[in-house]
Amino acid sequence: MTTDGLKWQMKVARSKFLRLFVLGYASAMILAACNSSSSNPATSSSPTTSALGQELTVGTEGTYPPFSFRDLKTGELTGYDIEVAQEVAKRLGRPIQFVPTQWKSMLASLDAKRFDFVANQVTVTPEREKQFAFSEPYTVSGTVVIVSNDNPKKIQGVADLKGKVVGTTQGSNFAEVAQKAGAEVKYYSGIAQVLTDLQQGRIDAALNDRLYVLTELKKSDYRVKAVGESFGKESTAFVFNKDSEPLRDEVNQILGEITKDGTLDGISKKWFGQDVSN
């Protein structure tokens, strides 16, 4: 560009016109920040102690049947974890709002206090306990190895995973189990993608929760099966931000109540046909 051209454009930049644009954009953003409140159920709550009637916000995947998924007939979220959380909210006297969140941003959201707690089969681990506050467990399960029906690598259990390609969901604790077993881990956004790739032979095996395998795998058309015994007894519980321990204690009290009066057992039998809560 010639110096003449540059000079003209310098003048342009100094003009009011540009300032108008910057100002316009700034005010538009501020307006947007003030107005748009749709699709953000989690913002109004600052998770401290539970106040009667104040909305309880709960993070959940909504893509993990039978624990947390969308009922395609009603369009509502449902599942074992959802129903336990709903029962807890009912007894706290607070309305409940679920926030469907991908697993990879679930704990980050909890950390940023985007919701009060997580109801999503979160396994209690020492690492997570350092960062977060767990409730009493409401599920006890284990991990199983899943292979395709023809099982070309002849995998019979977790001991056979060494050197094999194992699929798991992003950020799940199954990834750690697979690594410990010496497997090469491939990450997927959801269990549906894992199982699809498994039956297409791109991965040798998958790891998942025994309860998931008990219920969902049977219902679906995936040409996959579980092999070996389940291993690594695991407890899952609601997860809270460390700052929300008072709320956690209230929830624990209610979990104790619904265990004693058989409500939890009822929800468990409804979804799994057996008591999975201890």
């Binding site: 930049a13 009011k16 540009l18 395609l72 941003s105």
Partner: protein, 217 residues
Amino acid sequence: MSVTNLLISSLPLLLKGALTTIWISLLGILFALIIGLAVAILRLSQKRIPGRIAEIYVSFFRGTPLLVQLFIIYFGFASIIRFTPFQASIIGLSLHFGSYISESFRGAILSISKGQWEAAFSLGLNPTHTFLLVILPQAWRRAIPSIWNSLIDVVKASSLTSVVTVEELTNIADQISSASAVVLPILLEAAAIYWALTSLLDIAQRYLERRYRYTDS
């Protein structure tokens, strides 16, 4: 449930997600265009400081993944400003694609010959009027095809906002395919909806190109 039934019964849910996708895309497009033009002018102004800031802005937002930017805006800023998922998505999309669009505008403005400026000045127009009435209309016409690439990208990239818990089309499709264990047909259904949405942008592009086409020789 047969796959056909599932595709039909899942349509209302998917369309609800599509509505969110449309809102995010429209607002993202609007702000990306505004940012793009403002940044292009800043960079062309040759003012040392604002020009440099604009350059760094383009370099960062064009040079890092939108996914990471969304995480930073939604989680990273949470302790300072708590954007709602919807706000964080619009800010992320408009800043990300504003950087591309600013380059489209800049290239188009630079492509207008110096003679146009000189002719306008000789007619007594001041620099602001010259830019608004003579240069920008010509540049806009040249910028349309490359800007539209970015606008279509905004619609598709809005699928990433599910990581900051927005329940848009892809997120809903994920939920349906997990609940039903039917993956590919549902994804194809979602893809068809995306295609329909971006086709509307195609139509708008054709209309604009016709409207602003050169009529002189």
